[in-house]
Subunit: 489 residues, 2 copies
Amino acid sequence: MAAKSKWFVLCQFLFCVFLCCESLYQGFGHYKRHQIRQNDNTSYDYKTAYFEQKVDHYGFANDDTYKQRYLIADQFWDKNGGPIFFYTGNEGDITWFCNNTGFMWELAPKLKALLVFAEHRYYGTSLPYGPDAVKDPKKLQYLTSEQALADFAILIQELKANEPGAQSSKVIAFGGSYGGMLAAWLRIKYPNVVDGSLAASAPIWSFIGQIPCEAQLQVVTNSFKRESQTCIKNIRKSWGIINTMGATDSGRARLSTSFDLCALLNTSADTDALKSWLVDIMFNLAMVDYPYPASFLEPLPGWPIKAVCKPLSTEVMDGVPLIQALSSAVKVYYNYTGQAKCLNVNQNAVGSLGDQLWGYQACTEMVMPSCSNGVTDMFEPTTYNFSLVSDACFKQFKIRPRKSWVITEYLGKNLKTASNIIFSNGLLDPWSSGGVLKSMSSSLPVIIIPNGAHHVDLRSSNPGDTPDITKARQTEEYIIQRWVKGDNS
Amino acid sequence: MAAKSKWFVLCQFLFCVFLCCESLYQGFGHYKRHQIRQNDNTSYDYKTAYFEQKVDHYGFANDDTYKQRYLIADQFWDKNGGPIFFYTGNEGDITWFCNNTGFMWELAPKLKALLVFAEHRYYGTSLPYGPDAVKDPKKLQYLTSEQALADFAILIQELKANEPGAQSSKVIAFGGSYGGMLAAWLRIKYPNVVDGSLAASAPIWSFIGQIPCEAQLQVVTNSFKRESQTCIKNIRKSWGIINTMGATDSGRARLSTSFDLCALLNTSADTDALKSWLVDIMFNLAMVDYPYPASFLEPLPGWPIKAVCKPLSTEVMDGVPLIQALSSAVKVYYNYTGQAKCLNVNQNAVGSLGDQLWGYQACTEMVMPSCSNGVTDMFEPTTYNFSLVSDACFKQFKIRPRKSWVITEYLGKNLKTASNIIFSNGLLDPWSSGGVLKSMSSSLPVIIIPNGAHHVDLRSSNPGDTPDITKARQTEEYIIQRWVKGDNS
């Protein structure tokens, strides 16, 4: 039971751990000078603006408003009909998404586009009821995807109405991950506002009943398997050893030492926490398995899974030697720079504001289950129990998730009436398991990136990009260009 | 100013006056026996059922539920794949819509359909917070078209999941007037749930900025003009005479006597009320100008405008004789059966629960302006003043309307991505002015009924039907049959 409850916490936050931790990287004083120097010496110039939004678009009793932040860059824009590229902000600070969506910055000069990056309500500085809203279910109740989409639709219409030259501009939405889901849904629900969307790594089919709950960790396993069969054999074997060692004081002490943990594992619950932390790491590695060095969750080498698997790939091991090898592997992830003195198994459960707010979304609409069977994946068998999730949500937020609302609201798998959405997915990315991988019509193009991790196509081009990554961006550019020309809308 | 304020009240309620007053006709004890004998000796058998709906589909803080009523008839249904015909309930008791949508009852046996008539939240017996909700803005805040559409979508999905044989059934939505708007919007927003919609007399483009505010009363004028040019000349002339007479005590007394009013006109405000009441009558007549005797707002002969215009068509009159003739005309409308001893100019402003609730909807989302110019129409010139409307709404409900939200939410005139919606309009009907009268694509067929009043095509076929009315139903049947077969969805 404890393990299951851990699973819940894990799965609830995995999506956000990635995105919210990423947002740590935006805090370099960019906000003041609005100019970001990238690693490759390009720089992003934008202005910060605010738009007064109604807190509740779906009712009239609450007349409160909040200031939605958006970033705008018009230096490439042809004011005589040039398109608007609109990033549908995810669960985090919009400056981070602005600065890490290099593809939009590369495409804007080519298509003479106006760039707009809109922050998602309740994140960054777009806070309807300030940072304390998280403590009050009444104040949090307007944190839904529908309200966020309405914000985006209204903001776009206001921009088009008030920005000279924008009246007849085509609008293309861009988003990755949850932002990709929003980009797709914005086109689905507001085709009057958005002419086309690039939904990168958008797991719109990860909800209950849409895919087997094992699917995500199966992709993680495959991403490790392609580096080394021996690596996944060792990882699969390690859980039993951790369980055996974790059952005794001396074993837990040994585990603590092997993993250089900051705090001694005292109880079997601590051992469960260690396992959850390890699963986290493997999940995250599959998300950020980029072909070149990058600093996302942690500073990592190119193809980090290859590096992580190295100590686990020489032979199938057992006992303490396997644990030692696993520990070396883990350190590639958490201590690549050699700065950390010890490792903290609670590192992913820090519970920043962003984490908590995504936790709320995962407890309301974004119910995306995960589990494992230990046979077709390299993890301990775990089940998904909706009731447990629901109880935990109630305990934390005084609300219960709705299983199928999102599926009803956003068409589920019945996308035959949808159009002008590119669904792109990297096959290394666990979230690709809930992505649209097969085109349903000519106006819903699907782009598969076999060597791609989580929305790699939205990142700036990089000399280390594999040909399939480069090809994906080229295809996206071609399609978007056609939409802008009005060929297919 | 007083006249403008009257106009507001008038326009706010005109839509509902028709539909809510109609609902008076359902109170014949039908509810208990569930079998309605129609004038033509057909009888409608259905069961009444209830479905527990969340009060708030767009937030998680309020976990209240209410029982949504729906009527279901499965005697014609082929449980092996037969379609579901789903009426999207308007602003009134659903039993009335069930019993007055004969077209669905006639079509169901032909297409072996399951009939479902779903009541709109806050009307009939589907009351989230009981009849007193109207007094409390907090309790009324869930009365929106979005919440109603979510109710319908969820109910359909539940029926399909739980009704044996319904899993793969095609679903066709039907609706007239506001119900027609809902039928269209249900297909637009939930194409995963509804395969096609018949939106009869649905003025989806009657919102601010979509059509000139004069448009409705211009149609009324045209509907009178086709009976007699002299009639509209007399009506146009009468306002000045009423104003002159209404300026003095003796004139008001004369007016009161001429119109057989129950209460003496004491003030100029009373004179304004008389004029509003007359405009109401003319508007309503254009809505119910059916070719055969019918009992809607009032028991009326076939082609009631012809009968009403008769006393006004012999010659262009003036002074008291014109007022006498107008009074005779009005009595055709309000006293066709000769039962009334006197006429009550406040008859339309009774403010039943349904009226008040539609008033709320007209004060929030359904902002459909009306005005007149006195040149291309037969009415006194009046303007539409949004600020006055907004202030009146605030006074009555403590809320203010949102001008453009509905246009953003339901695509406005940008319907190029919509499909499988039949827009039918009778050209006698003032609401046709805000209807879709020109097809935008092959999957959005438009049916124009030159001799048709308000959603006449949804009524049972009648020997008095003109050929264009009969043709409209035939075309609708043909298209719906194709949708059911999956030819065009």
